[in-house]
Symmetry: C2
Subunit: 369 residues, 2 copies
C-alpha cells in the first residue's frame, strides 16, 4: 500500500440548474464537492463512483481536512489496490445534505442565511440526482461501476434502479433496500438527542456563540456507534476491562474502556460534523424504501436493467443483516439481472466494510475487473 | 385471571441500622417500600420474593399509584396464577437506589436535602442486602423462592450466591451473570443523554422549577426501549407503517409509527421515574459481574449451595441472549447445583418475560410447585 498520500483533485461543481427533489421542490444553487483519483480515459469508460456512508465524505483516499486522518477507504482505493487508481478514474462526491462542501443545511440559502431547517428534506434518490449531475458535468455517460457500503450501498442501488443506463456494475456492501423499524428507531433516538439539546435552537445555531448542539450530537453518535459494532467484537475489544484504573471507582466516570471509547467517539464526531446534516441524512436513510418507489415490488426497481450486481453482507452485521442483502438478491433474480451475493465472515459487525477483511478485498477486485 | 385488583398491603420498613454497601460506605436511614400479597404461613415457609427490573417497582400485581396502570406482572401473580397468592406469601420490594418509596438519590440525606449525586453508588448485591433486611424484619428465614426477570434475575442470582441459606429456589428469567460491553455501552448512552441535559444541573434539580432533565431521560428511555424489543417484533408491530397519515411529510415529525411509539415511551417514562435513580440503577447493573465477586470463577459463586435453580431465556432476546443463561447453567453444573435451563421461543425480545408467553407460565408454575 502506498505510504504517501494519494494524489487527489479536490473540486467543486456548481450546478447551473436547480436540482429537482422527491419532495416536489427544486433546490437552487447546488454545489457538489468531490475528489477524484486517477485519470479518465479517452472513451470516459473507466470511471468508478464511490458513494459514502452517513458520516462519511468525499475524502475516500486522501487525508481529511479537519481531522488530518487518512481517507476512510485507503485500504481499498489506490494504485494496485482493489479499486485500482492506476486503471480507473475514481470519483467520490460529498452527498447533498451533508456538510463537507456539498450543499446542505449549513449552506447559505438564496437569502444568504444558512438554510438550517428550511433546507428541504432530501432522499437517497436526491443524493443520486446530485451524483448524476456531476457525471454529466464530467462527461461520463456510463460508469464502469458504482460502489458503496451502508448508505453508500443505498445510493448504488438507487442509481442502478433509477439510472440503469448510467452504470455497468453495482457493488453494494453491508446495505439494505429499505430501512427497518429498528433502523428507524435508532435514528430517531439520535435525532431526538440532537433536538433535545437547547443549543440546537430549532436548528438556528450557526450564528450562536457556542458550537451548536454538540452534546446532543455526541449522544446521537454514541447510540449509532453501538449499532456499527458486533456484540462479539465489542466483547473481544473491550469486555469488561477498566480504563486506566485497577478497580471500579463507584462513581460515574468512565470506569470501563467501552465507556471511554464511546465518549471519545461522540465528542470527536462533533468536531467534524454538522448536527442539522445528521438530522437530514438520517431522515433520507429512514425514508429509503426502494420497493415503495417502484410500486411496492422490489424486483420492479430493476426491471429491464442490464447492470451487473454484486452484493456483500457480513455475518456479524446486525444493522443491515444478511437477510436484507438476500432479499435484494432474490429481487434481482426475479428481475433477471446478473447478481452474485456473498455473506463474508468478519468479526467487526457493520463496520466490517471499512476494516481489514481480506476476503472483501478479493471480492471487490474480482468484481470490478 | 382476577378482574378486580388484587388485595395488596403497601408498607414501608425503616431500617434501624445503616446498610453496609459494596463501596465501603454505610447507608443511613434506609427505607424499603414493599407490597405483599397473600398470607405468610405459620412456619414462614411459603414466601416468594419477586425482584423487579430496572424501571420496575414493587407494584407487581397492584395498580401503579402514578400511572394507574395494572401491576407489571398481573398475568403471573394472583390467585390461581403461576405465582399463586392463594398458597404463597408474595413480597415485592422497591430496590434501594430507585424512586418509588425506597431510599434513593431523591430521598433526603441526613442533612435533610436530597441525596442527589451524593448518594453512594450501589450494586446489585447492595439491593439484595436491602431485601435480606426486609426478610429479617418479616421473620422469614428462608424463602420458598426468589424470582426475577432481567435486573430482577441479577438480584435472584446475587441472593442465591451470597445468601444461599436464605432461599430454596431461584428462578432467573431473561437475565445474565454479568453486563457485557454492549450492555454497558447502551447504558452509558442513556446516562450521557441525561447528564447532557442542562436541566440535570449536576443532579441537583429537585428544587428547580422545572421537572428536571426530562428530555435527556426520555432519550435514555428511547434508546433502552429498542434493546427490549426484537428486530422481528418491531417489524411485525410497526414495519414501515406511517402514523396517522397517508404519505411521508418530508419533515421531522413522527412520520413512522415506530417513531411515534418511541417518543411516547420516552415522554411517559419521565412522569414516573427519577433521572438520578436511572443513573444509579444502570450503574449497579453495569457493575454486576457475579464471577468477579467470587474470585473470577462463576461456579465459585454457587459453591456449596443447595438452592435449586431454574433459568429461562428467550430466543429473540438480544439484550441478554441465551448464551448468557447457558453460561450460568454451565457454572451451576460445575458447582453441582440442581439446575434446569430452558430457551423459550417468543417473538417479543427481552420484554418477553413481561408478556403473553404461555410456556413461561407453565415453567414458572412447575418450578415453584
Amino acid at each position: 500500500m502506498a505510504t504517501a498520500p494519494l494524489p487527489a483533485a479536490s473540486q467543486v461543481l456548481d450546478l447551473t440548474a436547480p436540482l429537482p427533489l422527491d419532495c416536489g421542490k427544486d433546490l437552487p444553487g447546488v454545489r457538489i464537492a468531490y475528489e477524484t483519483y486517477g485519470t479518465l480515459d479517452a472513451e470516459a469508460s473507466n470511471a468508478i463512483l464511490i458513494c459514502h456512508a452517513l458520516t462519511g465524505d468525499q475524502y475516500v483516499a486522501s487525508p481529511h481536512p479537519i481531522t488530518g486522518k487518512p481517507g476512510w477507504w485507503v485500504r481499498m482505493v489506490g494504485p494496485g489496490l482493489p479499486i485500482d487508481t492506476d486503471r480507473h478514474f475514481v470519483i467520490c462526491a460529498n452527498v447533498i445534505g451533508s456538510c463537507m462542501g456539498s450543499t446542505g443545511p449549513a449552506s447559505p440559502a438564496p437569502d444568504g442565511q444558512p438554510w438550517a431547517m428550511r433546507f428541504p428534506v432530501i432522499t437517497i434518490r436526491d443524493m443520486v440526482r446530485g451524483h448524476i449531475a456531476l457525471l454529466d458535468a464530467l462527461g461520463i455517460a456510463r460508469l464502469h461501476a458504482v460502489v458503496g457500503g451502508s448508505m453508500g450501498g443505498m445510493q448504488a442501488l438507487s442509481l442502478a434502479a433509477n439510472f440503469a443506463d448510467r452504470v455497468e456494475r453495482a457493488l453494494v456492501i453491508a446495505s439494505t433496500a429499505r430501512h427497518s423499524a429498528q433502523n428507524i428507531a435508532f435514528h430517531e433516538v439520535g435525532r431526538q438527542a440532537i433536538m433535545a439539546d437547547p443549543e440546537w435552537r430549532g436548528g438556528d445555531y450557526y450564528a450562536a456563540a457556542g458550537k451548536g448542539p454538540e452534546k446532543g450530537l455526541a449522544v446521537a453518535r454514541m447510540a449509532a456507534h453501538i449499532t456499527y459494532l458486533s456484540e462479539e467484537g465489542m466483547h473481544e475489544k473491550f469486555g469488561r476491562n477498566l480504563q486506566d484504573r485497577d478497580a471500579k471507582t463507584f462513581g460515574f466516570d468512565a470506569d470501563f474502556q467501552v465507556e471511554s471509547y464511546l465518549r471519545h467517539q461522540g465528542l470527536s464526531f462533533t468536531d467534524r460534523f454538522d448536527a442539522n446534516a445528521y438530522l437530514y441524512i438520517t431522515r433520507a436513510m429512514d425514508y429509503f424504501d426502494l420497493a415503495e418507489e417502484h410500486g411496492g415490488r422490489l424486483a420492479s426497481a430493476f426491471a429491464g436493467s442490464r447492470t451487473r450486481f454484486c452484493l456483500v453482507s457480513f455475518d456479524t452485521d446486525w444493522l443491515y443483516p444478511t437477510a436484507e442483502s438476500r432479499r435484494i438478491a432474490h429481487a434481482l433474480n426475479a428481475a433477471g439481472c446478473p447478481v452474485s451475493f456473498m455473506e463474508l465472515s468478519a468479526p467487526f459487525g457493520h463496520d466490517s466494510f471499512l476494516l481489514d477483511v481480506p476476503t472483501l478485498d478479493r471480492v471487490v477486485a474480482g468484481f470490478l475487473g
